[in-house]
Amino acid sequence: MDSKIPSGPLADKWTKHKNDINLVNPANKRNIDIIVVGTGLAGGAAAATLAELGYNVKTFCYQDSPRRAHSIAAQGGINAAKNYQGDGDSNYRLFYDTIKGGDYRSREANVYRLAEVSGNIIDQCVAQGVPFAREYGGMLDNRSFGGVLVSRTFYAKGQTGQQLLLGAYSAMNRQINRGKIQSFTRHEMMDLVLVDGKARGIIARDLVSGKIERHSAHAVVLATGGYGNVFFLSTNAMGSNVMAAWRAHRKGAFFANPCFTQIHPTCIPVSGDHQSKLTLMSESLRNDGRIWVPKKMKDAVAIREGKLKPTQIAEEDRDYYLERRYPAFGNLVPRDVASRAAKERCDAGFGVNKTGEAVYLDFASAIKRYGKEKAMTSGIKDPDEATIIKLGEEVIEAKYGNLFQMYEKIVDENPYKTPMKIYPAVHYTMGGLWVDYNLQTTIPGCYAAGEANFSDHGANRLGASALMQGLADGYFVLPYTIGDYLSKDIRTGKIPTDSAAFDEAEKQVRDRMEKLMSGSGIHSVDYYHKKLGKIMWNKCGMARNAKGLEEAIKEISELRKDFWENVKVTGTIESKNQELEKAGRVADFLELGELFAKDALQRNESCGGHFREEYQTEEGEALRDDENFKFVAAWEYVGEPKDAKLHKEDLVYENIELKTRSYK
């Protein structure tokens, strides 16, 4: 595996690389077409920047508008090593935190570049009019996130993803208005087209008319997000899927570290079988919320039976288990650590809702703390308890109002008065298409950006880093690195779509849809998706073991066979058909799930979000094996997912000493 990492000192690599790579002159850019699939932070930012540079860009999204990509749901914030707080932050520290947070399974050079461009992202977004939160002096405000000891997270209330995406969307709109971007909405990429081994276009389906279309380009960028919906229940949008990435994988792009999945600790617990998705409560809440369960088993039981309220439990009878286990980081340990700790307490019988799978996130002490401070700054002397709580609740509302409102609407409880109930849920996938330093996959001309690639977060992503990576890839990395490849295409001319390669790809797409429509019609698509989700959650979830993973591979393989024989898809191919859309996506999840389990089975160690029960310390902490597993697992498609061929990219640490991760 050639990761094409530039030589030289870590801090100079990106500058040196930019100076070394080939450029395409402005007149030639006008003759080059680029397809960008997905219009979230990575895709939207890349499309806008490529169009600004002069390339002809076509964007594709399954949503009815680019503004609706799931980046919009990111809540808490975006990291940048600006050191505006003067708390000792630097590019190096952001780089170090990210590598350590990822449990030493990411590439040094990529992560350093990410830290290096992080400051530019904030500058760029402010210039675009993104309304970040400000202090009274007019300067930008920051908050803290898990796994770090500085305040480097910029935010726009609890809607940072929305504001950043609307920024990228506005940059796209400017280029659409200039005719430099053609935006195809309600379109789904059905396959990647390779001509002479190079990515030269896609087959897309117009989701309104059902029409199959051919689109050619000199390069194809996949910015199609993660595959968390393989679990059926996740915080992803209903439509989030792996189709584009998986189609590319089947055409030769290696898929890296599929088992590295992030289970986010603070989500609203499952309420019943009807549940269609899970809702995240931003990690920023852990700045002020304290996580606990009852210390006494009898209290936990009484709570589950509805005989006791959390507010009736005395302070000394509460187990603030994160503060107890990890005094240095407390409630702000990284996500994988917090999730496993919640599972540990609930498995031990201390869960606090009907299902026994929930812990408390309590704001009572923060409300009092802020209330006292506010009373002082408002000149109120000797405020009474009620005044303190009222003022404190106002501060909390200003910080997290929209999240509290969302919680109240879903759960029907007032989180200002009673602690929130939370439980871990599938949230983000660190794994994805393998890319080199230029973000190119193993298919020449096919690039992957944002969550769709595997590159920067190792085995666990730190909070507020997904937005940073999506925008770094889209605004500042891909638009330059892709030029090096395209510089060889200035004489190629327009890629025709009437070639044998396009004929063949279109035929495969049509055959596959017809096969989906011709199932015996016993079970709905959702039936299979839910079954797959159960296997994944039970056997490939927060804790995994060899036996369960072997069973998962077998069960998924059988389920896939059943799906292709017996799925029921109503409607027709040549019309709007949401059941057919779902069927195509679930068919790919049924393959990816198998590879996921296989990847988890080969990785005989625990690291980050991948926790193998066989590999843990006596205290239940993850036991990494750097001697045997300090590599990226890149899988080559050779037929059945369980037969995939493993390629290893050894991770070289020249600047950071590998250590056991400790947040104590």
Binding site: T49, Q63, D64, S65, R67, R68, H70, I72, A73, K82, V117, I122, D123, Q124, V126, A127, Q128, G129, P131, F132, A133, R134, G138, M139, A156, K157, Q159, G161, Q162, Q163, S170, A171, N173, R174, N177, A237, M238, S271, G272, H274, S276, K277, T279, E393, E394, Q405, M406, E408, K409, D412, N414, F476, P479, G521, S524, K568, T570, S575, K576, E579
Partner: protein, 266 residues
């Protein structure tokens, strides 16, 4: 809500019983076919279900009978993407306030209720199928000027070189929270898009970065809004009431001011 006392005594009890509902749903094959209301009865609905999960169950039943499910737009199901719509008993996003349809929960309804479900209605939002409408007119309004013309260079000035008064920044943020769902248009008797358009105009009008192009922006966006066939604003305020994000009418007043001042500048 900090002060508001939740009136959920009765709603909470609804969580634990199941409801039988009579649904009247708009079915329409495609843009060129006529549509009609079709009756469905759905049993076993729980208060903890979201409105869309209730429709999921109906669809699961329809698919099992070999019938085509009811198509509706939805995606994030956490109230932020703006994809879901639906006119529920005559109100965009249904009877609850400050929520989108995906966050509306069935505890707001009672056993035996009849619920009428239609697509958002407006000339500028043609129906695509069943409950799905085409809202691309909103994109075109944004394309006409909903941006600040700045290239991605990595060499813009440092973010803290532009200090912004906190009050202005907060107000810009409030305007920017618009999710582009179209409830304002569906609520308006004139199908006006003034609240939507003014939210973006306001966001940029309140920020120093946005002032540079303020004159062209408001003129171009209003021109596109009119071209798309949205109606005029007659200040009834229905849009503000139904907006799931609480976008304020103040934004319309600000846009009118911006537009007038732009016209005077030529």
């Amino acid at each position: 809500m900090v002060d508001g006392k939740p009136n959920n005594e009765q709603q909470t009890t609804n969580n634990y019983i199941t409801m039988k509902l009579y649904l009247k749903i708009w079915r329409q094959k495609d843009a060129s076919s006529p549509g009609k209301i079709v009756d469905y009865t759905l049993d076993g609905v729980e208060g903890d279900m979201s409105f869309l999960e209730m429709l999921d169950i109906l669809n699961e039943e329809l698919v099992s009978k070999g019938e085509e499910p009811v198509e509706f737009d939805h995606d994030c199901r956490e109230g932020i993407c703006g994809t879901c719509s639906l006119q529920i008993n005559g109100e965009p996003h249904g009877p609850d306030r400050l929520v989108t349809t995906c966050q509306l929960h069935m505890r707001k309804f009672n056993d035996g209720d009849t619920i009428v479900i239609e697509p958002f209605r407006a000339n500028a939002f043609p129906v695509i199928k069943d409950l799905i409408v085409d809202r691309s007119a909103f994109d075109r309004i944004q394309q006409a000027g909903g941006y600040i013309s700045v290239n991605t260079s990595g060499n813009t000035v440092d973010a803290n070189c532009i200090p912004i008064n906190k009050h202005d920044a907060d107000e810009a943020m409030d305007a920017a929270t618009c999710i582009g769902c179209g409830a304002c248009v569906a609520a308006c008797k004139n199908a006006s898009a003034m609240l939507f358009t003014s939210a973006k105009v306001s966001q940029f009008a309140l920020l120093p970065q946005g002032r540079v192009e303020a004159v062209e922006r408001v003129q171009n966006m209003v021109r596109q809004m009119d071209l798309e066939g949205f109606g005029n604003c007659t200040n009834t305020g229905a849009c503000e009431v139904e907006c799931p994000k609480g976008i304020s009418l103040t934004n319309i007043a600000r846009m009118n001011r911006e537009y007038l001042s732009a016209s005077l500048k030529g």
